[in-house]
């Protein structure tokens, strides 16, 4: 391995996402980067992480890199497999999920997500996206959510075109008024740094990855991004983290090279 520690944006985000997880967390995982982050956490500081997949798999221990949410490697050797109704009702709606990982085409100032349409209106969209899938419920009912996304202006508009899943809605107290569970999107993880909600539910820049700047973050955000008074720098990526990621988890680089 190169001693200069070059790494991709994807690797940077995955490694920082892994660090956010606590041992014993029950995590609602998607495939791709969140799956790698969870498996990395499990092999470093969080061996008792319980990974749940929306296809109904609890406690997966995939022997190979899963390529879809319903990959059979998630099932063989898992702790439990349940119906889709049960995974949403008994796990998410009941409040048995600690962490949800989210993505989306747009994330706005208050951490709301859009995965439904871009432009036009709902009945005649300019771009039709896949839709909610499980994200509407994950955002509403997990104890806390993490959003992983490249930091690009078009992905960070002032306001989402369509509210697919709730962040802090219209700001302070929005989640509480709507009767939602949990603390919402507590961290948005990008290739530049971390955004976290202030007391009003507005996402502000709270950390930069080594070598990144406030200017880069502000340029790539669609609203007037505030900067936390205590701006941190994330811990440098370690050789060990990179080695596990590259050699054990994604040896053919399916998810690591891409955004």
């Amino acid at each position: 391995m190169d001693a200069t520690f070059t790494y991709s944006s994807a690797e940077l985000m995955i490694i920082n996402a892994a660090r956010l997880l606590c041992d014993g967390d029950v995590v609602f995982v998607g495939v791709g980067q969140p799956n790698l982050a969870c498996n990395l956490a499990k092999r470093t500081h969080a061996p008792n992480l319980v990974m749940i997949y929306e296809a109904g798999v609890i406690g997966a221990e995939p022997a190979r890199l899963p390529l879809s949410i319903g990959d059979p490697t998630l099932v063989s050797g898992s702790l439990s497999v349940v119906s889709m109704y049960d995974i949403f009702a008994l796990y998410l709606q009941r409040g048995n999920v600690d962490v949800g990982f989210m993505g989306g085409a747009q994330i706005d100032r208050y951490g709301n997500l859009n995965a439904t349409i871009i432009g036009g209106d709902y009945t005649q969209p300019k771009v039709r996206l896949p839709g909610s899938g499980g994200s509407q419920e994950i955002a509403a009912w997990a104890n806390r959510c993490y959003i992983m996304t490249p930091h690009q202006k078009r992905r960070f508009p002032e306001k989402v075109d369509f509210l697919t899943s709730a962040g802090f809605l219209d700001g302070e107290g929005g989640r509480q008024r709507a009767g939602l569970r949990g603390s919402g999107p507590v961290t948005v993880l990008t290739d530049i740094g971390l955004l976290e909600p202030d007391e009003r539910g507005e996402l502000v820049l709270t950390a930069l990855h080594p070598g990144k700047t406030v200017g880069m973050a502000r340029e790539n955000t669609g609203w007037d991004l505030k900067v936390a008074s205590q701006l941190r720098t994330t811990e440098p990526v370690t050789e060990k983290e990179l080695r596990i990621l590259r050699q054990e988890l994604d040896p053919t680089g399916i998810y690591l090279g891409s955004e």
Partner: protein, 300 residues
């Protein structure tokens, strides 16, 4: 008509133009063979309902079977966009009705349970509620916040693929069990395809594994490899390469048409399809055994 019947006869007898069809399976056990038979028989004006339309509905839409799509996540799982469904919908040539995953599966749960709707807690994602008038609210008679409701979905036909069933349709399935049980109870008619038809005694050796009972099954068809390019846990692997290939094929109407000609219209049935895939793909999708630890029911 006996319950155990060739797939072509089951589709011909039980799927009618204009029906609401639900092809079950959340990424697993997707009944591609039945979907292709519906295409071959030229069924029209179907309302296709599925949480994830997946390639099966992309192909049926491409073949002109669909009038309307009911869904909760329209993507090519693990790959990206579901190109044909998406472009038909963007072009206004395909009606649609949209829910979240939990909304879709709650609709089936209501349909299976004989209820007119299912309640769900609020998610505050109100844009979809505004866009879809079928998503409504009720008051909690115990004083809590209002709940969201979705109406029961009772498809005219459910198509369900399982690993093993007896000739009466009592079916064992394992691995990801998405919504198969719910849709089998919700639907008016159920067409079951199975990797294996087993003696009733095999089913009776493990009754807790029987998620679908014969009493709700209309037709049983023996169709090995019915789920390719999806998979059957313990029988063959998911063909991720085909999911990637479809992304390329579905970019072009010509290539899509050529694919349908070669792989659907040009073939008689699933056996021909599997033979045409050839030994290299058979080998690639092979799975080494990993048996369950048995349980003891006891002789009482």
């Amino acid at each position: 008509m006996p319950k155990l019947t060739p797939l072509s006869e089951a589709i011909s007898a039980h799927v009618h133009d204009g029906d609401t069809v639900y092809a079950a399976g959340f990424t697993h056990l997707i009944p591609f063979a039945a979907g292709h038979e519906i295409i071959r028989q030229g069924k029209r004006d179907l309302t296709l309902a599925r949480a994830t339309p997946d390639l099966i509905y992309d192909q049926m839409i491409a073949a002109g079977c669909a009038r309307k799509l009911v869904f909760s996540y329209m993507g090519n799982p693990g790959v990206g966009s579901l190109r044909i469904a998406r472009s038909e919908l963007e072009a206004g040539r395909l009606e649609w009705e949209e829910y979240s995953h939990f909304g879709m599966i709650s609709r089936l749960q209501a349909g299976a349970a004989g209820l007119p709707f299912m309640p769900m807690k609020q998610t505050a994602a109100t844009d979809l509620e505004r866009a879809n008038p079928q998503i409504r609210r009720i008051t909690d008679p115990y004083g809590g916040p209002d709940l969201i409701t979705v109406p029961a979905l009772n498809p005219d036909v459910a198509v369900v693929h399982v690993q093993r069933a007896d000739s009466e349709g009592n079916a064992h399935l394992w691995g990801i069990i998405g919504e198969q049980k719910e849709v089998a109870f919700a639907a008016k008619r159920v067409i079951l395809t199975a990797e294996e038809i087993v003696p009733e005694a095999t089913i009776r050796s493990d009754p807790n594994r029987t998620l679908i009972p014969g009493v709700v099954v209309t037709a049983v068809c023996h169709v090995p490899h019915a789920s390719h390019p999806s998979y059957a846990q313990g029988y063959y692997d998911r063909d991720n390469e085909f999911y990637l290939r479809w992304d390329a094929i579905s970019k072009s109407a010509e290539m899509t048409r050529a694919w349908l000609d070669e792989w659907v219209y040009g073939l008689k049935d699933r056996d021909h399809y599997w033979q045409k895939l050839g030994p290299e793909i058979h080998e690639r999708l092979k799975v080494a055994p990993r048996p369950s630890a048995p349980v003891d029911y006891g002789q009482y």
